[in-house]
Symmetry: C2
Subunit: 335 residues, 2 copies
């Protein structure tokens, strides 16, 4: 292992000078610097980051905890985070919570151990109070998910209004009997999308049949099963707003399994616009979240906090976008 002392000896200067050169911080005479650089090159010296980190007590590493790394929605956000991180010399430590609040919390010890300078959470299912305490001591940013009424720095879309928008789209297509296949209501985004659904219905004077609102998990299977429930009712809904794209696909699959067609017999709208939404048949009409941007924004925000900069505000709402494809259709009188 080549140490800074080796370089110093070869260049015939002190370690302090070498350090100044490689961090180009201080005032070093040009010729001296060249001598040092030469020695660095000759010895193929790379500073030991651990030592630097210890001394400066910073790791240039951040921790990102995702609920499910195999969900492309989150991996796209992650990519946004990482792209910014790399640019500014940070590395990303990955925590995959596997949809488990406990394991989510277990990653947080990494901060206390000083293995990371900050934390971005793409999931907010563990104890809110604990997290708020942690954010007193360490830089924390939430992305995608969030806590209600919390002051924690957050980057996300406005799930309530997006859900309203999705529902209103169905309403604009003349649908009146609309069902909602909701994500888990103990997760904010599930709750907020459900809320948006109800708001839109109320605003347009439409009543919501309680049997047409079903809570499930953000998975294909769950979407399938809940749609099957709807299809067991006397009086079908004509359109379905699903909590996310996977659920929407499950719902479509269920509809098809009964011999019906989408969008002819049922309109289905999803949420997230995952990679596969456009490949699916029918191509899914859905609300797109700016995944990559959210990741980038979250990282930029975290960096500001790490650097102790003042935040102009702490909640960032990014724009969503309704993507109209082929899974919804206007309800005609015969419909």
């Amino acid at each position: 292992m080549v140490r800074i002392a080796d370089v110093a000896k070869l260049a015939n200067v002190s370690t302090a000078t070498v350090s100044r050169v490689i961090s180009n911080s201080g005032t070093v005479k040009k010729e001296t610097a060249e001598k040092v650089m030469e020695a660095v090159k000759k010895l193929n010296y790379q500073p030991n980051v651990l030592a630097r980190q210890l001394r400066r007590s910073e790791t240039k590493t951040i921790l990102v905890v995702v609920p499910d790394i195999t969900n492309t929605f989150f991996s796209e956000v992650l990519r946004g985070i990482e792209s910014v991180a790399i640019q500014i010399g940070y590395q990303v430590l990955l925590g995959d919570a596997r949809n488990n609040a406990e394991s989510e919390a277990s990653y947080l010890t990494i901060l206390g151990q000083k293995k990371a300078d900050g934390l971005i959470l793409l999931t907010a299912r563990s104890n809110q109070k604990m997290l708020e305490e942690i954010s007193q001591d360490y830089p924390v940013v939430l992305a995608c998910e969030y806590y209600e009424g919390s002051r924690l720095p957050t980057v996300s879309i406005d799930n309530v209004s997006s859900a309203r928008k999705a529902t209103e789209y169905l309403i604009s297509l003349n649908h009146k009997r609309i069902g909602h296949i909701s994500g888990p209501l103990n997760v904010v985004v599930g709750r907020d999308r459900c809320k948006g659904f109800h708001q839109a219905m109320a605003q347009h004077g439409l009543s919501v049949d309680p049997s047409l609102v079903q809570e499930g998990e953000f998975s294909f299977e769950s979407g399938f099963n809940l749609m099957m429930k709807f299809l067991a009712l006397e009086d079908f809904p004509t359109a379905i707003f699903a909590g996310n794209d996977e659920m929407a696909m499950g719902a479509v699959k269920a509809i098809k399994s009964k011999g019906f067609k989408v969008p002819e017999d049922f309109s289905v709208i999803g949420f997230d616009d995952i990679k596969f939404a456009s490949i699916f048949e029918p191509a899914l009409t859905t609300v797109a979240q700016p995944t990559f941007d959210m990741g980038q924004k979250a990282m930029q925000l975290l960096l500001k906090i790490i650097n102790g900069e003042e935040l102009e505000k702490s909640q960032f709402i990014l724009p969503d976008k309704l993507i109209v494809r082929d899974s919804c259709k206007e309800l005609t009188i015969n419909g």
Copy 2:
């Protein structure tokens, strides 16, 4: 910040003793240990991992470089890696190469900086020689992808025989005029799958029409475009072996766009068995790779190398599995 010295003072012992207690390494009297543990608890002491790392010169961190984090195939492997890592007290530093050999290589400096104890590469597109040199100095394991004729420790399936198996399945369905939509041939797995295809054809005395082998990228769009090329030929193939599932889906889409049906008019087989393969319509017949297992195995292997254990062998071939679904059909005389 609570330091070990604070704990030592409160417990009225030396820092050495505290250190011994928290790493339960040495011989410490029971009562002393209890005293120390009490002080630890009272002060809520957490060792500064950086200091430990510097002294022990180990980071308990590994670096995983993936070609594309938004590809569920790789994120499943990653999950396998991470699950083992967490269990044994390691953390995973993520490098997303974004399908770019240069950026892949840029992550390797992290090793030299001592920010990670080892490296798992899920992509092998950068300079082989360089990597082999690196593996002299640092623990390295390749997973999924590999270099031909290299002694680098590797975990993967046998892509040649898997591709042969896939092709033979088509042959067993009476197909004779079979096309191959290949992944990039500058990537080993692309090459090996192509090789397996040719082997199977030759072994069954079938000739390969050169115009029925097209090289593309491992993407949906690429699969679509290349299938369109086939569909522009005078003499169609009756079956297609695609380099991976995304390409297979693209091919199916192209076929449908021309008004043909899968599997009635064309049989299509994919590769990887990604999450979406079963949701796609028709559900994709494909070759499943043991993603999670490969990740686990790779991590276990890396750990052995880190610990300086002797490896019984360096190339691990895991079993693949042909998953028969609905995208292939026996060729009848009417074709």
